[in-house]
């Protein structure tokens, strides 16, 4: 079989490496052709309310991707965590900003786990176990990341040295 053109490979959710921006758009194109039902968030909420009226157990199962938790403290925790988790489809975005399906599913997963009583750091650790440090926008201090943390201090020190020597020359 002939190899596929680059843009066709794995365009479903993860874009080909050098077509990243393009395939984020492209995956939306694919989504238009999808067979399954797609609702706007508002429709989902209305449907959820109707379902809740019929059967509370069903409403519990609905996706929490775009539905806030009823406990404001937990919702705030979940929201703060979502802002520091990278979307694996549109990789420059946090999952809180991304419209990608998998980002929505991750938001739902985070809300469910926080609702069940897990701490945000536990959920982050769980995700890091799955995808590596890459998934978190809050890089841990470790063997590979210490230069990142040291860089501001090193640069500041260099700056102070340069400033001191140049001020001295002026006098």
């Amino acid at each position: 079989m002939r190899p596929l053109p680059r843009f066709l490979r794995h365009a479903g959710l993860v874009p080909a490496p050098n077509e990243r921006q393009a395939s984020c758009v492209e995956s939306k194109g694919i989504r238009l052709r999808r067979v399954g039902p797609r609702h706007k968030a508002g429709v989902t909420v209305v449907l959820g309310l109707i379902l809740a009226a019929i059967n509370p157990a069903l409403a519990e199962k609905a996706s929490l991707a775009d539905t806030q938790l009823s406990d404001p403290a937990k919702e705030a925790q979940a929201k703060a965590l979502m802002e520091t988790i990278r979307c694996v489809e549109c990789q420059g975005q946090a999952i809180s900003d991304s419209n990608a399906d998998i980002a929505g599913n991750m938001r739902s997963l985070i809300r469910e786990r926080i609702k069940a009583g897990e701490s945000p750091e536990q959920v982050r650790a769980w995700l890091i176990q799955r995808y590596g440090d890459y998934i978190s926008y809050d890089p841990p201090l470790g063997g590979a990341t210490w230069p990142l943390w040291a860089a501001p201090f090193v640069l500041l020190t260099i700056g102070i040295v340069i400033a001191r020597s140049s001020f001295r020359r002026k006098r």
Binding site: M1, R9, H10, G12, V14, A16, Q91, D101, N105, L109
Partner: protein
């Protein structure tokens, strides 16, 4: 010494320019790989997608029999391209289980009728929960699970011929 130092900013600029040019002409590999490779398969249970096939659970892996897990969807174009490769693996006797992401039984049935059906079981992962637990970031992705229930390999995006050969070789070696 002072004379030499004068060239330092230009050298730094040239180095930075080179770095940026390198990134432009040889972009980094942005493929998201699972950190679960070489780790035991996490515990999960998925209901059946089709009435004609069972769903899948962690308990059906291990027990000395290596298997493939294929994460796919009927709405995914590369999955169609991958179908013949999976059929080749099926013909060679490799047991394949499917995890269908955000899909419906009708759409999956149409997809299988059109592109062939390599799956022994298909689990319905409506909200990507198991997909995320596996560290998979999209469709299609294929995981090779060894006889002890460990994830041995992850293949991101639609399988190519050389990857099929690699799977067959590894799978035969593990049996």
């Amino acid at each position: 010494m002072r004379r030499m130092l004068l060239w330092l900013p230009l050298l730094l600029f040239a180095a930075l320019f080179g770095l940026v040019a390198l990134g432009l002409f040889k972009p980094a590999d942005r493929t998201v790989r699972s950190a679960m490779v070489d780790k035991p398969l996490p515990d999960f249970t998925l209901p059946a997608m089709l009435a004609s096939k069972p769903g899948i659970a962690r308990s059906s892996f291990g027990g000395g029999k290596p298997r493939l897990i294929n994460v796919f969807a009927s709405w995914c174009v590369p999955c169609i391209a991958e179908a013949p490769e999976l059929m080749k693996l099926k013909a060679a006797g490799v047991p394949i289980d499917g995890i269908a992401i955000n899909d419906t039984p009708e759409a999956i049935q149409t997809f299988l009728d059109r592109n062939g059906d390599p799956y022994q079981r298909i689990g319905n992962d409506k909200a990507s929960q198991v997909q995320i637990a596996l560290g998979s970031s999209g469709v299609p992705e294929t995981f090779l699970i060894d006889g002890r229930g460990r994830i041995v390999r992850q293949y991101v995006s639609n399988l190519q011929d050389d990857q099929v050969d690699d799977i067959l070789k590894t799978w035969r070696g593990m049996r």
